[in-house]
Symmetry: D2
Subunit: 315 residues, 4 copies
């Protein structure tokens, strides 16, 4: 069975309890919430998942729990990039053994830009696995720039089948890559969904992001892919104030955890340190934005989900 | 007379002709357009003005022309930061001689972070001028990070009276700075206006940006400052799809010049090289966005202005 | 017993076999070699140790083996910094449990410069351990700049007792820090020993580096600390061509592993990927340099050690 | 007449008087000193020349004075790179009009790595000039990385004939480039001469640096190029303590100006701000190093020159 990723792949936050330990039941609650929101895939161990603050055994445990909770209903994509090839291979093989469906692989640390070294890194990892690889093009955190030409080279590697694109301006880069290699890589937009409509219009196959109202993006994506583009655009535009707010550099993880807490999904919005935090005015701004969202944008079904969630996961 | 900057200060693009020479009449047309749009100040020689691609004599000429065209109707703020103190002093004194009303000063290149060197830089410049200084806090281009504590130190320097804040997340930084020094510095938001409402709500005195529909920001600002906050917010949210689109990293100058051309204000959207460019789909995306803006957001008066402009500046 | 670090603390490479697995016997051979060379301490899990390419369990195993092999003859300093506080605490507690004598702690990833976050990071770790902490000031790899003022703040934290200084120009920074806090922190120079004489003259208490001829640095240090400064300087100058050669950015780990192999200490000079490598001319350059070193600089006793080593560890 | 650059091309400092104005007579004295030291070329407006702190008119004036003082005895290479193509063309045409013999062109600011944009930049400049271009590969200041493949592409451009290589490890990069394009570009080493012997051995045609004892490098180069390689190496090794000291990041300009002052060539070692400075111990370190150099390394003829210089330029 050939796995096909597409649509809204929710990047999962890693909930911590007040002692900053991984909160297993919160993690399962997040998975349930995302699935009920209708997402088409779940991505774990990304930047939003605070992967750079997790130990090797925590990475394994999170993969195990999420795969177990998802029970094959949607594909699970596990972040297995590392600061070196051997470590990335180890993470990747572990993820495959734990039944992840695909791997999201960030580039390694490089002393200086080196396309050949990046090709070798992805090639060496790809040799050791049998599941699809999603290249993570996210220069803001990883400080590695991938040109469309390099991405075209990477697309020649067996198992490299997808690209998560977070190198702005993303719409133009979607077109540049597709001009070089057509559909050879399935491209997911990211950046909190900030340019989702433009990315989809230029041929992206989905959105991979941690936006905390995934049901909105699911609606945007489904309207769009079913040909109701004006509806998709209209909904997208109405969600833009919140999308923009969530996308704020350095505090987007804090904002999303806070929203998940306010939505009753997780009990604690704790971040691992060092982490940029919200201030009291941020909470007010968030309340104001969410009330707008609640009254105008959320599809009625989602609202019900939200209510149910609140009952089953009292904060 | 104590000059008081506030409100929407439009950062001016520098129009070039097809030979990439400064287009003097386009520059005057831009000034006229901004004034008719109701802006409260005009900032020249910023990043949007492609200042890093201008010769010393072009800088002088642009300052001279803009001051002449504005004729004192609003303050003119001139960008006079430089890669070294002596050069910044030279630019600053020239700008003052040419009757600029204030100086926007970016930090210098530093081999490594050094707060004391930054304090000395601003102090040394401030000694040589008598007009207000706006600190330009824009780490994305200048690669200098200014902590709230450093900004508080800089606020002690005579003539340092304003801050242009483009270090995201800007809303929280507005509060952090105001918690330290209150109103001692007047803070302008930037970043294309992406967080204007939050910045104003937290005490910013205005928005300094090159957003190509300044009349929208003027309306947002005036509604806000006259206490009609819901109206301000509603207008701001409706403009958000365009604000977000314009704010795309690396291509925002190209987008704005293209809009100014489409609005009939400048004849040529040429950029000086090297410059990231739009592709054909960008132009379609822009048309789509602008048609939405035209039909829903622009105040009727602005539409008239737009029409008049088109007549007097045929593209 | 109050542990006192000083002198030449050798940063240990992590030898890998041809399958890139940690080579336990090579690791023990390296420890023996360093001890016979007369070093005053051994530092593991630094950049030279390719720590960023090691799994959590490999880190533990290396610590365990080295502590076992050293048998208390000199202090063992273990690198336990991490991309987040919780991970650094975990590594630090493990190192203490495994009987490391001190911790070398690199700063965490920061979204933007933030002195307060760095103070909190070191403070939070220090609370969880009882052994001395060496701050690792190495902006080239970790991209965190620590001003003398920040280092003075960090020196107030209990257990923070040493600084490994690799932020050039190091001689001046030694003086700047000592002007602020005197002997409050014991400062080690680094950078391959490139400025060891100047650092010692300005009050550094030792050199922490992976230079592959540690016996030379031991001689420099002991001559210097016993008051024979001209002798120290003369030896240091004669070693300079090699010190400089080893210190080449990106390939210094490769050079040192190659020298250890040529000296008969480890069997394989394999690096974990991605890694900058030597070319065939590098090997010739190295032979030429080493023949100079062998004939002119090495103390006769060291030469014997070298010979013995070659017999017991045939390459 | 085809100009052929080779040998030691001294990068000239820009002397300032105590008011930080360009010191014309100091500039002429520096030129005379370099010529008497036997250099084979003079490079102006480089990083050591504090070019980023100079106005456009100062750049012109310095070019005019140096060309005038050199009177065709050796080639004058003028630094004309800029933050944008149009500015670089302007500087380049001015330099050619002022009779510079070649242009050293640093890459422009780029929002993100972009090889095609770099090729276009050099191509667009090359079209406007008729004299040779030296590519300045110096990522430390300009933050642009040039791969050997990119350099090979640039070597196809008419007038692009030389490369100043300061991307360490330089010896290996010399070989990588020559493996791709043979002698198509003449390669100069830099980095203060730190790897001059290795660079020359691998095929570099000279050393372009601001080392303040150029007569030593001239001797190294001439011994080397006349086949007396052991002599070259021996002299080079003896100079290494000073070469290393001068090469210290951030303070190398300060060190060199201080040496020129101590050698009686310029009156004032003032730097334009912001600039890292020496402390009082640096001056002692320098005295100690220079006394070693004076007694052991300087060829007797150079010593005479030094004495004469001191008489004609009393400090």
């Amino acid at each position: 069975m050939a796995l096909k990723l597409h649509g809204v792949c929710a990047i999962l936050a890693t909930p911590f309890d007040s002692q900053k330990r991984v909160d297993d039941s919160g993690l399962r609650a997040l998975v349930d919430f995302e699935l009920r929101s209708g997402v088409h895939g779940i991505t774990i161990l990304g930047i939003l998942g605070e992967v750079l603050r997790l130990s090797d055994s925590e990475r394994r445990e999170i993969t195990r729990i999420v795969v177990d909770e998802v029970r094959g209903r949607v594909p699970v994509i596990s972040g297995t990039g590392a600061t070196g090839t051997d470590l990335a291979i180890m993470y990747s093989k572990e993820a495959e053994e734990l039944k992840a469906d695909a791997l999201m692989i960030a580039p390694p640390r490089l002393a200086k830009p080196n396309d050949d070294a990046l090709v070798k890194y992805y090639r060496d990892i790809a040799k050791e696995v049998t599941i699809p690889i999603v290249i993570q093009d996210e220069p803001s955190t990883y400080a590695v720039h991938m040109s469309p030409k390099l991405i075209a080279r990477l697309s020649e590697i067996e198992h490299v089948e997808y690209l998560k694109l977070e190198d702005p301006p993303t719409p133009i880069k979607v077109s540049q890559i597709r001009n070089l290699i057509g559909d050879k890589l399935g491209i997911f937009g990211g950046l909190g969904g900030l340019y989702a409509i433009e990315e989809l219009s230029r041929g992206a196959i989905g959105i991979m992001t941690g936006f905390a109202y995934p049901e909105i993006l699911v609606n945007v994506y489904e309207s769009f892919s079913q040909g109701r583009r004006d509806e998709a655009r209209s909904l997208f535009y109405r969600a833009m104030p919140l999308i923009r707010y969530e996308a704020q550099p350095t505090i987007n993880v804090a904002i999303r955890k806070e929203i998940f807490k306010r939505r009753g999904i997780i009990k604690d919005s704790t971040l691992r340190e060092p982490a940029a935090k919200l201030d009291s005015d941020s909470l007010k701004e968030l309340d104001e934005l969410l009330s707008t969202i609640d009254s105008n944008i959320l599809p009625s079904e989602s609202k019900k989900i939200s209510t149910i969630t609140k009952q089953t996961n009292p904060a």
